[in-house]
Amino acid sequence: MTEPLLQVKGLQAWYGESHVLHGVDLQVHRGETVTLLGRNGAGKTTTLKSIMGVLRKRQGEIRLNGKDLMGLPLHQIAYAGLGFVPEERGIFSGLSVHENLMLPPKVADGGFTLDEIYHLFPNLAERRNSQGTKLSGGEQQMLAIARILRTGANILLLDEPTEGLAPVIVQRIGDVIRALKAKGMTILLVEQNFRFARKVADRFYVMEDGHMIDTFTADELEGRMDSLNETLGL
């Protein structure tokens, strides 16, 4: 196989004194949608935050397209091609929907145009002048995803995009992710919603207590259901 787009090796991370990640390995290839599974508190969010550089106390190797991200200051990591949707979505209340959308600087060519985005998310177009946090939870999630599509990032880190959303909205988000996949976008997705994850993922990683304990492809999923039921408590 070719060199992975995102290569993580032996990643460790800390919150203050508390050691949370103990050597996580992970690879995402170009065009893949990879889902990170694991119970609450397993370290999924921490893994994304460490890759993004939002959590600074970390060790190990993180490479994007061969470029080492470890030593970069936070504001340069996005320019390596990472787009981040945090678990809490991070919609700014002091900004309108449109301003939220336009906030992240373009980091590379080839991002979605504003028209494409408003076409993909018609609700956002309608409410472009509302205050960002006046949107419903589902719309805020759409906005959080839409916001990084403009930037030209070539890999999206999505942290539990379906959390707390109604089934119809979850379906909408599924559609969006499939549309992104169809455009060749690479996605690293954290999910607790297993039924959602299995519909979109090409490959899975399973985390427990800050360790990566398993990885398998969508085709191998059936054979893993028993052990998954146990680790995830499905």
Partner: protein
């Protein structure tokens, strides 16, 4: 002669005008404080010292380089902003992840140093700075005499405040500022150089104080202590208005200046304390301040 509550109309208007002038400075200074606080979470006690620096820089330019008011109106604030850049990079940037009280202590110390140095060099008596020739003289409005320069100060302060407001509310730069006020880490994760944004914000705040200082130079005297007296009043203004809103800080500044002017007419003994009394009343009724959200 026309009188209002036994006060002659020109005397009343005169005091209101003085109040409005003071209010213009309160507005510009509390605006700068609020901008800095919003982004850096630092209460900039050195704001008064930076206001004083603005006035002194203008005076230096005139005295040592023969550079007059108009160029000074641009150059002196730029100079103060540059001082702000140094202060932010060398000192403030080291304390952002500490308790916010340290920011107040640090800038308090800084104010003592800056004002102490100028006092050491120039004593406590003020240096005159003459009114630019364009604005010599006065308008006779019939019911009052309005000195041209004072009218200019009021208009200029309104323009300055509006421009700053537009910068923050309507531009991309302002969107970065507003977003970073809420979640600096995420904004930086998007690729915005937030440390530089912080430096720039502090420089803008300091520059605003410097600009107010230049405008003040012909009205008051250029004195090392001019900022010391005003900074605590501006703190009270900011507590009254609530620091959540830029517009709130500005409007509160003008209104309190006017109130102070009115007090001078009707109860002069209280004119130096009236703003503090209002602060107490506001705190009792609305602890978050008039425009604060909490």
């Amino acid at each position: 002669m026309v009188t209002v509550f036994g006060i002659s109309l020109p005397a009343l208007m005169g005091q209101l005008l003085i109040g409005l002038i003071n209010g213009s400075f309160y507005a510009m200074l509390s605006l700068g404080l609020a901008v800095i606080f919003g982004m850096l979470r630092v209460i900039n006690f050195a704001h008064g010292a930076q206001y004083m620096l603005g006035a002194f820089f203008a005076w230096f330019l005139l005295r040592y380089a023969g550079i007059g008011f108009w160029p000074a109106l641009v150059l002196a604030p730029l100079g103060v902003a540059l001082v702000g850049v140094v202060i932010e990079k060398v000192l403030l940037s080291r304390i952002y992840n500490l308790d916010h009280l340290y920011g107040l202590l640090l800038t308090f110390g800084l104010a003592l140093v800056i004002e102490g140095l100028f006092r050491h060099w120039y004593g406590t008596s003020g240096q005159p700075y003459s009114i630019p020739s364009t604005f010599q003289g006065a308008f006779n409005l019939g019911f009052m005499i309005l000195p041209k320069y004072r009218a200019f100060v009021i208009v200029a302060s309104v323009i300055v405040c509006l421009t700053t407001w537009l910068l923050i509310e309507k531009t991309k730069f302002g969107a970065y500022l507003r977003a970073a006020t809420e979640n600096p880490t995420l904004v930086q994760a998007f690729g915005v150089n937030v440390p530089r944004l912080l430096t720039l914000t502090y420089a803008i705040g300091a520059g605003l104080a410097g600009l107010a200082g230049v405008l003040a130079a012909p009205v008051y005297q250029v004195s090392p202590l001019m900022g010391q007296n005003i900074v605590i009043i501006v703190f009270a203004v900011v507590v009254i208005g609530g620091m959540g809103s830029i517009m709130g800080a500005v409007v509160t500044g003008y209104v309190l200046g006017l109130v102070e002017g009115l007090t001078k007419v009707f109860y002069p003994e209280a004119s130096s304390t009236v703003i503090f009394v209002i602060m107490v009343l506001v705190l009792l009724v609305r602890p978050a301040g008039l425009f604060g959200k909490e």
